[in-house]
């Protein structure tokens, strides 16, 4: 445990000189226009303790660590950058700080002026079955205002049994309540009945539009570079906006600022390597982390000339550096680049991937006012080409690019009153298709024109504690979206529900002119009421708006699916969600329990006409149907934090449905990813200090699908028909699966530079053929004219047997 304490004197209570004029004006504007709340707390003379909480071993800022003043029973948690600020009356206090899995920091402070307190916490390295954290704040489950949040530590994620032994940040989150997927291998995830595009996936605040490698099997986040993962399913604070259902906030490590460190691993799919080191000790550090799949490399020597030019690989590279250039300023620069490549010689090639870059600047105006400005660039791109002759070729690429700036300020008035405010602007360029076709020597540009738009938002939120037992976070976000010119704009006529609408008018709108704008007020509210030492009630309401939409009508989304802005024809979607929950801890906070119920109503969701063609189609807006959705459910979560046997049980009872004019005879029908019951049990058992057995069992109700009832013959073809015109009215059999893994770590008694760890895993232990879907088809082979054709139902199982895996991970310090 290390700490540094510095007395600043009372004079620094007043704002110091501002760094830039821009910041000053934003600050002034927001501060004075919104700020009424603070006045009542300004009366008495007060002092502030502020600083950062970091990991003593590598200097990484700890997010959500608690800092509290024991005598006053007042505390706070560190923000995303490890910063905290506590304002109290002068006096002599005991300050404590801790974080799950770390030893508690305790220090007595005689406070008569402002104090900077930088705390470093050490991982408790004693025997694991001893209760590690003895601090008072293991009761975050109960004490935190925030509800409807799924959070797992990277340590837990790494211990989870995984497909082919590849630690996966997203799959870890999926075993928690409220989350479903349409099936194995499907990209994305569904939160409380929302479609996959309703999740804002942020990597160091930059949005990632496709979070999977190899369709949906592996997530794009390198586990060695990720520090913290948090999923907001409800009670979404006003500072987040842009998606209806959830925010997945992935934060990258800053890089070891104490010493050189190398991590890596060799698995079935990927090899990974990451290097992190200080540039200037405790002031600047970096991390570089890369992964690459190597099926192609391993297979190459065994394949003949036939495979020349064939590529099958995916990789990602993550970089981050930071520099603390004064006591009040720190900058972070992070980048991600990932790609999936597949090609079949010159005949056909595909590749897709995300690139993001984020620049952030933390600035402390004073002990109580923390600010951050983020600027990011994000680009999701895919490329396709066909044809190996000069006469006939097809080249096509598509992008969604965005550039954003996002200032945010947090004012820590006192431990009972915190105000955050800020804004965001995002400039989007959608390139649905830049496509060139050459057919029999004719050159044809069949591109779909770019779409431009601007999304902006401002927010204010205030978190206050009242009458000891209440804590409230209320806030308001105002979001605004403009669909801009620079292309043809289409106006469509009416059509029978469920059919393609005809184009009535085409107008070219110049670049920069606004075609259509939309605005939404998004109120947010979270309330917590303490029932006693160990339990609380929480409730929340949030309204969210979403202005960009993923166009996808397949069961699992493909990498070709494109995003579209809201236009004059596609309206933004909004959702209202209410949730309430009971939170209770037992057994000296070692056991956490929560139960939540929610109801979410979504307006103006997107659906499609039958036979819709969503790509390379300038007129796709005419194929879009508008509908509404509702989702409701109950989520239960029970977790044991420590002891030789720990883990959690999660159960969700839910329903999610939609209503679209022209589908299912205009009646409500369940979403393709709806699951009535969703149960999972995850357990870790410490066999010895160096070896852990992990198990994961999941059960969920089969997803709904639609069967053909009937067949009829046209020109020798047997065509399926669904006579009732229903949608998703039958369910495929339930899904259940058990996974096991055994982790053998290094001997904890030997302090070696090189630490290796073996992981042996079995996925789908009892080899169940879980159906992804049931489809109908005619028997394979060429039908003989005049003879009857036989038709059958087929169960598709993506994983058909037990999948073993071995991987090796290492750390060098």
């Amino acid at each position: 445990m290390v700490s540094s304490v510095r007395q600043n004197g009372p004079s620094s209570d007043h704002p110091v000189k501002y760094k830039t004029d821009i910041l000053k004006s934003i600050y002034n504007l927001l501060f004075y226009s919104f700020f009424m709340v603070s006045s009542f707390s300004m009366a008495a003379q007060q002092v502030t303790i502020s600083g950062y909480v970091k990991d003593a071993a590598n200097g990484e800022a700890l997010i959500g660590a608690y800092v509290l003043v024991d005598e006053l029973e007042k505390g706070t948690a560190t923000n995303e950058y490890g910063f905290f600020s506590l304002t109290v009356e002068p006096g002599t206090y005991t300050v404590k700080s801790g974080y799950l899995g770390y030893a508690e920091f305790v220090q007595n402070l005689d406070l008569n002026g402002n104090v900077t307190l930088n705390i470093e916490l050490s991982i408790e390295s004693t025997v694991i079955d001893e209760i590690v954290v003895k601090g008072d704040r293991r009761d975050q489950n109960v004490r935190d205002l925030q509800m409807s949040v799924n959070k797992l530590s990277m340590g837990e994620i790494k211990k989870l049994p995984s497909l082919l032994g590849e630690t996966d940040v997203l799959r870890g989150i999926l075993v928690l309540p409220g989350i479903t997927t349409v099936g194995e291998g499907a990209a994305g995830f569904n939160v409380r009945g929302g479609s996959i595009d309703q999740n804002l996936v942020l990597l160091d605040e930059a949005p990632v539009y496709n979070s999977s490698h190899l369709f949906g099997f592996f997530s794009v986040f390198n586990p060695d570079a990720v520090k913290d993962v948090k999923l907001y399913k409800g009670g979404i604070p006003a500072r987040y906006g842009g998606r209806l259902s959830s925010i997945l906030d992935v934060r990258m490590k800053e890089g070891n600022s104490k010493q050189f460190e190398m991590n890596g691993g060799i698995g079935t799919i990927f090899s990974r390597l990451s290097i992190e080191a200080p540039i200037i000790p405790d002031k600047a550090s970096f991390i570089v982390a890369g992964r690459r799949s190597y099926i192609d490399v391993l297979a190459a020597p065994f394949l003949g000339e036939d495979f020349e030019g064939t590529a099958l690989n995916f990789y990602d590279l993550t970089l981050k550096t930071n520099y603390r250039f004064s006591d009040k300023d720190q900058v972070f620069l992070s980048g991600y680049f990932g790609r999936d490549n597949f090609s079949f010689g010159d005949a056909a090639g595909f590749s897709w991937g995300n690139s993001t870059a984020t620049l952030r600047w933390n600035h402390l105006f004073n002990e109580k006012l923390f600010s951050n400005i983020t600027a990011y660039y994000s680009d999701y791109e895919y490329q396709i080409n066909f044809g190996d002759t000069e006469e006939d070729q097809f080249d096509w690429n598509a992008h969604i690019k965005n550039l954003s700036i996002k200032p945010e300020l947090t004012y820590y008035i006192n431990p009972n009153n915190v105000v955050r405010f800020g804004g965001q602007m995002i400039y989007y360029v959608f390139e649905p298709a830049n496509a060139l076709a050459i057919t029999d020597n004719d050159f044809l540009d069949i591109s779909v024109d770019r779409q431009y738009s601007l999304e902006s938002g401002i927010f204010i939120e205030n978190e206050v504690s009242l009458f000891d037992k209440f804590k409230i976070n209320y806030g308001l976000r105002f979001s605004h979206f403009s669909y801009l010119g620079g292309r043809n704009v289409y106006y469509y006529g009416e059509a029978e529900p469920g059919l393609i609408r005809p184009v009535e008018e085409i107008e070219f709108v110049e670049r920069g002119k606004t075609v259509k704008s939309y605005g939404n007020f998004e109120p947010r509210l979270s309330v917590k009421y303490d029932l006693g030492e160990n339990s609380s009630l929480k409730a929340s309401y949030n309204r969210t708006a979403q202005y960009i939409h993923l166009l996808s009508n397949t069961t699992a989304s493909t990498p070709l699916d494109i995003w579209t802005p809201s236009t004059n024809n596609i309206r933004p979607a909004t959702a209202n969600q209410v949730a309430a929950g009971y939170f209770r801890n037992f057994n000296n906070d070692n056991i956490e329990f929560s139960a939540e119920v929610y109801y979410k109503k979504t307006n103006r969701i997107i659906d499609y006409v039958d036979g819709a063609d969503l790509i390379l189609n300038e007129l796709l807006e005419g194929q879009i149907l508008e509908g509404e959705a509702r989702a409701y459910g109950a989520e239960f979560f029970l977790r044991r934090n420590s002891g030789r046997l720990n883990g959690w049980i999660s159960y969700t009872l839910a329903r999610s449905e939609r209503l679209v004019d022209g589908i299912n005879n205009n009646h409500w029908y369940p979403n393709r990813f709806d699951q009535t019951h969703n149960f999972s049990l995850t357990a870790f058992y410490e066999l010895s200090p160096r070896s852990t057995l992990s198990a994961n069992f999941v059960f969920n109700t089969g997803t709904p699908t639609t069967f053909a009832s009937t067949r009829y013959v046209q020109q020798g073809y047997v065509i399926p028909n669904n006579d009732g015109d229903t949608r998703n009215n039958v369910r495929i059999p339930p899904y259940h699966r058990l996974d096991l893994s055994w982790t053998l770590g290094p001997n904890p008694k030997k302090d070696k530079k090189w630490k290796g760890e073996w992981v042996f895993g079995l996925y789908n232990v009892y080899a169940r053929r879980n159906p992804f879907s049931i489809f109908f088809r005619q028997a394979e082979g060429r039908p003989v004219p005049g003879q009857a054709i036989s038709t059958e139902a087929i169960r598709l199982s993506v994983v058909g047997s037990v999948i073993p895996a071995i991987s090796y991970n290492f750390t060098l310090k």
Partner: protein, 297 residues
């Protein structure tokens, strides 16, 4: 963009069957079929030859027998003042045989269909659309490579008319065997797969030209060998017929899409009950046909 999705499936299946032992098993389920309804198979053409419209009953999806015939209906086709009776023969087939040089009609004619069955009337109408001539059938020799057997691969060259909104159906026979797998059903919108691309008035794009090669059960092409014969027809179809066949094909081959399957959809008929306006299963189209053939030397 079925073509692209096919490649994805190929990658997916290659990887998932290798690593994950993914599999498909035939299983028993209940289709929920209730009662048979009338089906009209009304695809006729403007050639000077006998034309057949077939009336049958729909079946339970898992009934793998031949559909039952509807034998006591009255079927007529009308082109302006000409009323052409279709006489019942066998197996639900109603046939019209032309006199001399007679045909159903020519490009631009509006043709009507009328059916009377059991006191109910069913009607439809369609326009005869233009069809481009087939310029040539090329046979290109390819050496064996990944996913491609050595042999000759046929390409049918035809050029779409200028003006958007032409739709065609390519039908091909190898050695007198019709390429009749659902995967081989080839539809053309202008010169490409589907509307909205802006492509118009050019030669059919290469994947369409290659559609005259039979597909093997593994999904690749079976090449032509010396001595083989290729016969190709291009049928003009109405836009409604294009959408009907497009949805029908998507649904017949939806299993090939694995995890990227489309939602179930019903191909939309253009034949309705004259009283209730309710559609009946089936379709009515009158095609102009162009054709060409080629022997492989």
């Amino acid at each position: 963009m079925n073509q692209t999705i096919r490649y994805f499936i190929f990658i997916l299946l290659a990887v998932s069957s290798m690593l994950l032992t993914s599999c498909e098993d035939a299983i028993d389920v209940d289709s929920g079929f209730e009662a048979p309804t009338l089906v009209v198979d009304g695809w006729i053409n403007t050639r000077n030859e006998a034309q057949t419209i077939r009336l049958t009953w729909s079946q339970d999806y898992f009934d793998s027998g031949k559909p039952a015939a509807v034998s006591d209906a009255t079927v007529v086709v009308r082109n302006g003042n000409r009323v052409l009776p279709f006489e019942y023969t066998v197996d639900g087939a109603y046939v019209w045989t032309p006199n001399g040089e007679e045909t159903i009609g020519v490009t631009g004619d509006i043709i009507e269909l009328g059916i009377e069955y059991n006191g109910e009337f069913f009607i439809s109408q369609t326009e005869v659309r233009r069809v481009p001539a087939i310029d040539s059938i090329a046979m290109v020799f390819e050496e064996g490579s990944l996913g491609l057997d050595e042999g000759y691969y046929g390409e049918v060259y035809a050029k779409d008319f200028s003006g958007e909104g032409d739709s065609y159906w390519i039908r091909a026979w190898k050695n007198d065997t019709l390429l009749n797998k659902p995967q081989e059903l080839t539809l053309v919108w202008d010169a490409t797969f589907d509307p909205g691309s802006g492509l118009d008035g050019v030669a059919f794009i290469r994947p369409l030209r290659l559609s005259i090669n039979p597909q093997s059960d593994e999904g690749g092409f079976d090449p032509y060998l010396p001595g083989d014969h290729a016969y190709v027809e291009v049928h003009s179809i109405s836009n409604e017929a294009f959408y009907f066949l497009q949805i029908a094909q998507e649904q017949m081959t939806n299993g090939d899409n694995a995890i990227f399957s489309l939602p179930i959809a019903n191909a939309r008929s253009n034949i309705i009950n004259a009283e209730t306006n309710e559609p009946v299963l089936g379709f009515f189209n009158v095609a102009n046909i162009s054709s060409a053939e080629r022997w492989v030397d």
